[in-house]
């Protein structure tokens, strides 16, 4: 999941060197925190949050096997 978020974020931002993804995994949930350069925040959120929503859909699909809930936070 980390790789997926990293790949999508790095493909969309102006400054890929500032892309960081942290993963916090617990028994029932996985939290991913994506950090990008301040100017790039809009690019990984997308208009009306579409990029973030699409990423969440893919993460949910990946998590469906494990039965865990995935949360993606962008800062």
């Amino acid at each position: 999941m980390k790789e997926l978020v990293e790949y999508v974020a790095k493909s969309l931002v102006e400054d890929p060197s500032e892309v960081r993804v942290e993963v916090f995994e617990e028994t029932r949930m996985i939290l991913l925190r994506l950090t990008v350069a301040p100017d790039d925040t809009g690019r990984v959120i997308g208009r009306d949050g579409r990029v973030a929503q699409a990423l969440r859909s893919l993460l949910r699909s990946m998590a469906s096997k494990t039965g865990k809930r995935v949360t993606l936070k962008i800062s």
Binding site: L4, V8, R56
Partner: protein, 323 residues
């Protein structure tokens, strides 16, 4: 407080519909204009007026029991607050349309459980609100089985020579391949060209076709995952080539089959609406799926269609003109 969103040819019409649904007078609501109406080009992209009405006096239909039964399911939802609000709206709407008597408020005292039962009974099949998980799974399974039997009308040919593939499509295939790898999906991507689409126009001829076994999780509920995959692949590829990359993505002909299934569903639900002289609610769908329903019924003289609800809960309603 209840909220509905309604659309109409102009703002007045949209407000009027909302007031009918809420069954309140104009002075009891706050009106927000979400979208001004606009005329599209060649009948495409025209937009109806969209308004949101919020009641200022809490109606009697606020039932704690019902709300708490909704909360149980919010865990798998992304927007629990919105979810709750939607459901209350549905309560109001359901009540207003019941027995075709919009002014009838009897029966509002029923508890949440009963409410749910009635709802399933009345709506049946794919039209329920999506609250009951086992019902929903059952319905999804039925739709998938039905889908298996549908023959896609589109005819495609695989294009193997790289020189024959536009740059955007080639970059798209590479992007998709990376995405699938990161998603740990083992599948093959075939670049295809759509050469025939029955009597339908071929909008985008290039197709990245994901082939493999057991790819259901790439499709998701009502194609949600597939839409997300297509959106991100196109976005990344377009950024790469610095112009719009035009292709669609399909998984084992899912989209092609689903389109036909939606058309069939639209026609049979329209028939049902006319026969029973009442509005039929379809299950929530993505914008593209809703568009297929609207387009299928556009020429139907007996019904009109509207979308209502917000975000993932947005769905099409089919309204008979003889109602």
């Amino acid at each position: 407080m209840r909220t509905v969103e309604t659309s109409g040819a102009d703002i007045e019409e949209a407000i009027e519909k909302g007031l009918q649904l809420l069954d309140v007078a104009r002075e009891n609501v706050i009106v927000e204009i979400i979208e001004e109406p606009s005329r599209g080009v060649l009948g495409l992209g025209s937009k109806e007026a969209l308004v949101r009405l919020t009641t200022v006096v809490p109606p009697r239909s606020e039932r704690p029991q019902f709300v708490s039964s909704v909360e149980e399911t919010t865990q798998e939802r992304e927007e629990p607050r919105q979810e709750q609000r939607r459901d209350r709206d549905d309560g109001g709407r359901r009540q207003t349309y019941r027995d075709g008597d919009r002014g009838d408020r009897r029966g509002r005292g029923s508890g949440g459980r009963n409410f749910r039962g009635e709802r399933g009974d009345r709506r049946g099949g794919d039209q329920r609100g999506g609250r009951d998980r086992s019902d929903r799974r059952e319905e999804e399974r039925r739709l998938r089985e039905e889908l298996e039997k549908i023959e896609p009308r589109r005819v495609t040919v695989a294009v193997e020579n790289e020189d024959d593939i536009p740059e955007g499509v080639r970059v798209g295939a590479e992007t998709l391949s990376e995405l699938l790898e990161h998603m740990k999906v083992d599948a093959q991507i075939v670049v295809e060209r759509i050469v025939e689409n029955g009597a339908h126009e071929i909008e985008i001829p290039w197709l990245l076709h994901i082939r493999g076994d057991d790819l259901g999780r790439l499709i998701g509920r009502s194609g949600e995952t597939l839409s997300a995959l297509q959106y991100l692949t196109r976005l990344i590829a377009s950024r790469d080539i610095q112009s719009r990359a035009e292709f669609s993505i399909d998984v084992e002909d899912y989209r092609a089959k689903r389109e036909i299934q939606l058309e069939q569903m639209a026609r049979s639900k329209a028939e049902e609406a006319v026969q029973k002289s009442r509005t039929v609610y379809l299950a929530p769908m993505s914008p593209n799926e809703r568009r297929i329903i609207h387009m299928t019924l556009r020429e139907n003289p007996d019904v009109t269609t509207e979308s209502e609800g917000e975000g993932p809960r947005r769905r099409v309603t089919i309204i008979p003109k003889n109602q």
